[in-house]
Amino acid sequence: MTTAPEAATAWERVRAAIDAGDPGLVADVVTTLDEAGRKQVAAELPGYLPVARQAANERHRLAWEAKEKADEEARQAFVAALIAQGWGAHEAHHAWWTSDEHSRRYDSDLPRSDVWVEPMRVAGAATLGGAAAVATWLFRRDYNLWRPQPETGPLLRAIAARPADWQADLAGRLALRLRGTRWNDDSAHLALQLLRRTGTPPPDHEPLVVAWVSQATESRHDGQAWTTPLESGALAGDPLLDALLPAFFTAEGVGRAARDSATAWAAELHRLAGTGRLDRALLLDGCLSRFLRGGTGNDLRVFARLHDLLDPSPEEVAARRRDYLALLPAAPGPVADLALTRLRGVGLPDPADFAEAVEGLLFRAEAKLVKAGLGWLDQTARAAGGDLDHLAPALGSAFLCESYEVRSRAVRLAVRHAARFTPLGADAVRSSAEVLPPDLAAEIAGAFGEVQVTAPEDAFEPGTLPAAPAPAPAFPPPAELPHRGGLGGIDLERWLDWFVREGARSGGSGLPEPEHEYDRQRWAELYDREVWDQTSEWAEAMLREAATPGQEPPLPAPAAPPRPVGDLRRSFFVTSTDPAPADDPASAIEDALAPHDVPGVRAVVELAGEWGAEVRRGLMEGLEQMTGRREQEPEPARDRLPRERSVSRPHLIMLRRCAEVHAALKAGTLPPYLLATPTRTDGHLDAAELVTRLEDSERTGVEPLPLDLQQALLRLPRQVTTEVAARARALTSDAGRTLAGWLDKRPEPVVTVDWQMAHGWPHPTARITAHSTGLDLVDTLLSDPSTWRDHSHGRHMESWRLVAPTEPDVIAAYLLPHLVHVWERPYVFHTLVGELFELDGVPGEVTALIVAWLLAERAMWRAAERGTELLLQAAASGKFPAAECGRHLARVLRDSPLRPVEALATLEAAARQGAHREVWELLTGFLPAYLPGEGERVHSGHTRVLEFAVEAAAWAGATGDLPVVAAVAGRKGSSGYIRAARLLHTQLTT
């Protein structure tokens, strides 16, 4: 730091202090200036703003660069030291990021780039002429005060050196600058501090009051502990207390600012009233006045607490009876409640007041208040003579209360006093009874005459279901399609068909150069990639092979050295959907590795505890191989296909077929066409067409490709004509016999769901059981799907149904692992599930589960509408396993965070759009599984479900008893749950 010599001018000294970035030093200098010096500084300051900022930024930049350099050197030294100890390079680098050294350096402080701000403000506050100019100067936009300056002491010191009336002027101006929306600078603190120091009466400005209230709960360190002015008792000595307290009850925003400190505020104000420091009447009147002005329950919390603590005496309440009375009809629940309590204490001697209170209470939505109103109503009715017609509207509003108990009490009351209503009054009661449930309406009807029950008010008009899907159109002719953007579904089949028929022979229309640099690089590296997990890569390879045979270099031999643990650890960072509990794998791994002292093992062992069983098994195998406990398995023939577990199986099947064509091309055994090319766009392959293709290949002596044949079989319809079957039996080749065998006894996979929970979240997994066919591709597809799922799974999902177009539930089994991972599955997921209903086969349990989940899910955009559309599509197909879906929906709602209210909304929307029968059928599966069993608590969701079932049963015209409903209906009691069950039971059985 440089200090200016004594002989320097005022500005030079101030500038040196500013450059030093020390506000305290600036305050020292500016407070010693004479009038001329101040003027000189004031004239120079504005021009110095950009200079000061630039200099500070430059200092900050240099410091940052120096830190970066030092960090890098430290990192290199750290890594080198670990490598010297025998660590792998990757492991050592990884260790740096979690090291103490790294975090210590990361947290280290740099000089702030805004160090110039506070010195400039201090200098301006002490030297600029008018208070208005200083008020503007302190909050210039140039300062970008996005975080409060750490210390306002120097600033206050500089201001304190100015004349008293000038300070008072500034205090008032700063207070009036406050807004309810700016909290990130120190303006509130400064304004309040100046007001306190100067003793200036605070201006009438609501944001100032809110700032004062907020500041009283800000924690500060008082030398011994962290405390707030409220807790430390400092409020009593606050010179602003008396001036701002009346506005505490009137300023908008105070309740909100004191929401989280309501208890502390109420306690402190109550304490001060107890000591006589504050006027109790002022507080009480303030609370009432605030209640009358309205606000939400949360915003009034602090006042309600204070009111309760003040605990007004009956005399105090009686004097404010009118105010309490005015709170009954419209104040937020808790406030009306406290008003009711107080009024009960003092009574309402004036009958007019009493009637008003009754009316106010009966119109409330809260059961508790309505109940109180009914009590008072009864009292009035007993006390007063004459007719009770004037009470009819109030009774009518009590009929609207949501609580059945309150409504039945209102009905009992009306019936008790029925004789006291004139025909006119009775009419009023009767017409308001229309909103009552049928049983209560009947009670009113008994005493007052017929009541029009509103049950048939829901004029349900079933919509029309969408038309059942038309048969898929014929498969389009082969075509050379652009493949580099990815080939899937129908496009892949068309392209393969084209390639085998023409492309392989003509080489296609040549391979154009990719346009973009990224693409160019990607395709240039095709042969460098060991695994081709995209259809486009295989298509590119086939085209290249056709254009220049033999251009693909042989795959390099696998890398021999054992993998270091560091790599092993990284390679197991995958998401497992397997939630099976651990049987202490960590110690098993530790034992296995104990003799080898491999660095990093500890971390692997710790991590392994959190992984699924399958991952751990894989890890164990890897470690055992590495440590020589297990023979290295022979490397399988290398073919660029991804390993079975690393992609979804339908995707793998697509890739394997591509690989088969590719291999046949290289071997020169490519058939003239493929067997598996579908005849319809839904993947369906006409059996007669397949027989014709096989007859043709027998005639020409062409050997079909095995996977191609198996895929063709998977695409055959379930039913074939006897004539086609006879033709198939007449085939003599191996392929022909395989076809005949398939038609004779095709596998019938059974797909089931295994429902498991992990970390409070459901992990349903599918199991596929089918007899072995000896056909590799078929058996692969029809075996349990992997419980794994990571980012490489789920590709080409839209093409999967083409792999097995007669097995919707098998495809659903492969979709299932993606179901609960909402954010990672494709947006078209709903559509893909809907398409399963268009396939040849019948969707089963897994599809039902997926639909059930999607009905209730709301995570994505338009989820509700898409759930409804899915249900409608399923209903329209005529193949919807509705009851099964209901059973799974119950499970989903019981075991996942998905909520019944959302599911019911979807069901109602679908019912109104034509799926009402399916919705009722779904409910017949849902209710037995969802309603609470022995020992389970009933909650409002159960009641809501039954109420909906009443409606749905009516819409579907359902009859026939449901045992679970009958059991609930037979119980004693009058809870909403039991009443709804009774209603449903009656409706179904009469």
């Binding site: 309810g180 002005r293 005015a326 008003e356």
Partner: protein
Amino acid sequence: MTNAVQAYSYAGPSTLDGSGLGLSTSGGRALSGPAAHPRFFSGLITQAAPAAAAMLGLSEVAMTRYHQPRPGWTRDPVVTCDGARLRLESFSACGGVYARLDLDALDGEVLDRGTTNVDINGPLREALARVGGRDPLHLGVGPDEMAVTTLDGAVIEKKVPLPDRWLRGFAEVQVLAAGFDLRAELAGPHAVRFLRGLPRKAGASLWLAPTGRDLRPVGQGARGAVCLSGVGRLKTLHPLLRFAKTLRVYGPPAPRPEEASAWELELPGMRYTLVLSPEAWRGFSGEGAVLDDLATDEAGADADVLGMLLNYEPAVELGLLAERSGLALPRVRAALTQLGTSGRVGYDLHEAAHFHRELPYDRDRVAELNPRLSAARRLVEAGAVRLSPGQARVTTDGGIREVGLADGSCTCPWWWDHRGSRGPCKHVLAARIAARQTVEVSL
């Protein structure tokens, strides 16, 4: 965006003591001309309790920012006296909720007709909350004679920012509402049940369609449905439910993904209406509802003609207006849109009719809210338009624009971009205004 400031100047605070409610007025226009503190009405409100509760609702709307709530500026309600009723309007601070009370339950003397601001303050709100059903309530809009004579400079001044966005929304909500149809009508008890059954979450949005005597949630954009966006914005209806006779719901004819809606509560002797913007975070300004009508070149001049014919009538009758002005009905409608955007007419959904009121804000400023038309007028005033048969050349800072008068084409980049899809550009508008002026002059 410019942020002008509105300065209210009241002779004293509005007060309610005993049974007298005195609403202080500030500025505005009356039949008798502009006035600092106009006096409109003196007499009784025959339904005191619902009127007081509805006024509290209005003041709450004016004070609230429904989107990202926080305390801020409050703009005072606007009162229009049309001789038959008082209409009190307020517009939320977020610019997304419009509230109006049409007060018919009046018995007294109409002193003048016109529009003004009225002061609503904290003590008045407290007093309004205390109003019970049994007391008659005397109402005076404007300083009473005693006060006028004893005024000794007791003036209350309030200054609040008046953003363009807010002012334009306030004006344009009328134009938007004029396109609404009645979607549902619920009797009192059903209205109560419906409103109490709405989701608690203030930000919740749902589509509702009438089924039987109720309104029920339906899928987005269903036929005949209304969009209720931000359930919490209906909060001011709840305290009024105990007086409710009917709830009517209005919405635009062809629903889009989000829509505005109007909620009208019929109370004894009055109606309380809320209009909600399509989404809680969107205000009404910039909804673009007005551009179609404004694009007609006559609208400006027609609006001037109609503006002179308006007389603070309770309901503007289109036929009568067409007859008096000699304009065809479509032109009258377009001109009313124009008047709506400049804050000179409001729209009453229940009567399906416009009513005359002049928003008591700086008149030039309100007129400027349609920047394209204002820019065109400035061009004409600056003599930038030179007419030749069938064509016009408009000189601007960016060069000379050639305007084809017949097809409304222009050589400016804006027209090039939009090709009339957003109405004529300012040059075409200017050329048409100038052409009309030439005809008038030569006549």
